[in-house]
Each structure stands twice: as C-alpha cells, then as structure tokens.
C-alpha cells in the first residue's frame, strides 16, 4: 500500500505557487474542499487560474479567494451567486472563461484520461464556438474542445482511506471525481479518514491512484445555499 496521508493542512498544500492552475471540486457549495480553500485564502499565493463549476458566494467557498484578489482567471459554467465576482468581472479585474457545464466536466475527465480533445455538440452556433474547429458527425455539427489539467486539484470526499481511495456522499460527488483525475497533484480532504483495508474495494468512487495527498478535514460548515422545505401535513 502506498500511503498518501498527510497530517497537516500545511503539508497538504505544500508546493502551491503564484500563477498556478487549480481545480476545485463542488457544485455550488455542495462538496467543496472547505479546508483547502480556507488554507489557500490564508496563504499569500496569488494570480491563480481557478477551474471550478461555480465561484462560491461572497463570504464562503471560492468567494474567499476572490475577496482577497488571489484569482486572476476563473474557468466556470455558472457564477450567479457571487456579487463580488460579478463586480470584478465587469470591471475587468478578473478574467472569466464561461463554458458549458457538460463540456467542463468532460474537459476535466479528458485531461485525466489522456484524451487531448474531443468533439461535442454543446455550444455549436453560440459564442462558445468562436475560434473552435467545427466538424459534422452523423449530419450534426460539433465543436472541438480541449482537455483541462491542473497543477493542483483540490477535492472533497465523505470517506477516504490512507491509500487515497475516495467515496462521496449524495450529490457532493459532482465534479470531484473528474478533477481528481486531472490534477498533477490531487489533494483530497475527507470527513472520515480510515486505514487502508476498511473500505469495500467494489464501492470506491475514485481509485487512490488519482490522489497524491489525503487528509482528515475538520470543522465542516457545509452551508446550504437554497434551503427549501415542505410542510408536514
């Protein structure tokens, strides 16, 4: 067994540098690597390119890095919940690349899977297709999208073992598995870290080969963006 466990958050983010490209798992605030984001926001690292489906909210998630102006470029699909993000984008301080959500997921997957590019119908005929090769397959136009990779990928899982194997909970899985594959150094934080051998090998979502560092996360807030309930009748 190759032991991936690191004991401190400092060891987990060791080697991060200015101008690097980072991936962050999560959909909205669901399944985001809270510990890593907090540690990065307290570090001096800056001019980052961040790849994440969303950009957090003003005071949580990637909003923490935006507030401190540590991000020079965001690559996302939907950024509607963050006023500071919108301000920085409209003022030109922040460069933003908005791409279709399915293309974002597949570009990360491709990056981790050794596929340099692929054709997809998503975005054909829109501004997303500008400057991209178009080719017809089965009579339908498709556009060429390239793979994405990152210097560091920060992911969050529910359970993990010291070999780096990960299991996600509910819809907190989202982009985490693909980003784990696409990171040169993938740092996984988990709510429950167990010794290798305790997880059922048949029920692991992300094989440990994709994870370089794993640590026991702490103090998870797990904020809910849209608390919706129904009445008991």
């Amino acid at each position: 067994m190759i032991n991936k466990e690191v004991k401190s958050i400092e060891d987990a983010i060791k080697g991060v540098e200015n101008n690097m490209t980072f991936m962050f798992g999560g959909f909205g605030l669901c399944g985001i690597p809270e510990n890593a984001i907090k540690a990065l926001s307290e570090s001096s690292v800056t001019s980052l390119i961040c790849i994440s489906n969303n950009a957090g909210i003003d005071d949580f998630g990637l909003g923490l890095l935006l507030q401190k102006k540590q991000v020079k470029k965001m690559i996302s699909s939907y950024v509607g919940e963050n006023a500071e993000f919108e301000r920085q984008m409209l003022s030109g301080e922040l460069e933003v690349d908005l791409i279709p959500q399915g293309s974002l997921a597949e570009r990360c997957r491709a990056g981790g899977a050794g596929i340099p590019a692929f054709f997809t119908p998503a975005g054909y005929g829109t501004e997303v297709a500008e400057g991209k090769e178009v080719r017809e397959f089965n009579g339908q136009p498709h556009i060429l999208e390239s793979a994405l990779e990152a210097d560091f990928a920060f992911v969050k899982a529910w359970k993990g073992d010291t070999a780096g194997n990960l299991i996600y909970k509910g819809t907190a899985r989202n982009f985490n598995p693909m980003m784990a594959m696409a990171g040169k150094i993938t740092v996984a934080e988990v709510e429950h870290l167990v010794p290798a051998g305790e997880l059922d090998p048949a029920n692991i979502h992300t094989p440990g080969i994709f994870v370089q560092r794993i640590f026991q996360g702490r103090d998870y807030e797990k904020r809910i963006e849209q608390r919706t309930v129904r009445n008991k009748k």
């Binding site: 605030l29 409209l90 959500q101 005929g125 819809t171 693909m178």
Partner: protein, 218 residues
C-alpha cells in the same frame, strides 16, 4: 385569462409520458414535478448528479450533501442514484433523457434559444443549458410570452447571445402553446379566455394560425 406560472407548469406536465426521464430547469420548469398526471411514472434527472429526485425535504431533514441543480435541498425516491458530472452529461448528451424543460429570455422562429447572458448586465453563465439544448430530442420552453417591458419574447431572430440553435420544439407561455415548425411558430392552443388576436399582438415572430385554435384544458 392568461396563465400564471403554476398554470404553465400544469400544461407542461401534460406532455409527460410514461417511462420518461426528464430534466427540469430552474424556475417555472421545477414546478412541473408537482403536477405529474395520474398513472404516469417518470424520473427526474438533475445535472449536478442525481436521478430519481423526490420532493423537498421536511423541515429539519435538509441534507447539505443532497441538492438539485438549483442548489435547493431535495430528497430522493426509491430507485434513485447519484453520479458524477461527466456521467450526468453522458446521460444528457447521449440522449438518454427524453424531455428537457427550461426557461428562456428569447426564442426565435427557427427554434434558437437565448437564456444565459445579457451583455454588460447579467453574467451568470450557461450552466448546463448549452449541453441540454444541443442534445435533447424534445425541448419544451416554459416562459412568459412577453418580458417585463411588455416586449415579445417570441422573435424573428434572437437579439441576445444564443444558448443553442434550431433546438426548441415546443413553447408553453402564459398565453399559448406553440410548436416551432419550418415557417414559424404554429399556434396549437390558447390559454383559457385568451383571444388569438392577443397572442398575435404579443408575438413578434411569424405566427401560423390554422383553423380554430382550441383552448387549453387544465
């Protein structure tokens, strides 16, 4: 009388067929899940990674790890499954989802749709909408017939940046049900009490009226 949002959702729910996997967008489309016709089994897919979505949870039972694409807390039904985003869009792009219902800011008579960006004003992003409209065989748009300024949202050509081209098949608005055909918007049904003339006045694109147009039955 023109329909309200619930009326639009009820009318769209009539389009559900037994055995459909359905993706509902944010806003009016989400309401469709409340009006599934009697005797029909459908499963709702949310692109953040769940199939078999149930109703909202009871108060106190919300789970931060269980949300839909609108970031709302949800529950799951028997037979539900979770998956990652790449698998989710494999279901969508791979045409395993039979019906997509989404909102729009503008639709053109060619079936083009714009719903993600107002240059210089609103920059939220397209989320999964471009993937959804590029691949779905059956797309229904749920929207008001006119915008807040009273201008038609059914146009000859979209003025806003496009989400997809020639993809919308059907539109259900507060005034009418319309089908996108080769020559324009074919009027299929009127909202209860709404005159064909009212619909004509609210439609900038070419409206095709053939014979008597029935009222919706809700």
């Amino acid at each position: 009388m023109a329909l309200d949002k619930i009326g639009i959702a009820k009318r769209i729910a009539q389009e559900l067929k037994d055995g459909y996997y359905v993706n509902l967008g944010i806003g009016i489309p989400t309401l469709v899940a409340n009006y599934i016709p009697e005797g029909i089994n459908v499963e709702f897919q949310s692109e953040n990674g769940v199939l078999g979505m149930g109703p909202f949870p009871f108060e106190g039972e919300e789970d931060a790890d269980l949300i839909n694409a609108g970031k709302q807390t949800i529950t799951t039904l028997d037979g539900a499954v979770f998956f990652d985003s790449a698998t989710s869009f494999s279901m969508i792009r791979g045409r395993h989802v039979q019906l997509t219902v989404l909102g729009a800011m503008e639709v053109s008579e060619q079936g083009d749709i714009a719903n993600w960006k107002i240059p210089g004003k609103m920059v939220k992003g397209m989320g999964g909408a471009m993937d959804l409209v590029a691949s779905a065989d059956n797309i229904i748009v749920a929207m008001m017939h006119t915008n807040k300024r009273g201008e038609s949202k059914l146009l000859k050509k979209c003025s806003l940046p496009l989400t997809g081209v020639a993809c919308v098949k059907k539109i259900v608005t507060n005034l009418a049900v319309l089908e996108v055909v080769a020559k324009g918007f074919k009027l299929l049904e009127r909202a209860p009490g709404v005159k064909v003339e009212d619909i004509q006045n609210a439609t900038e694109g070419k409206l095709i009226i053939e014979g008597d147009i029935p009222e919706m039955v809700l």
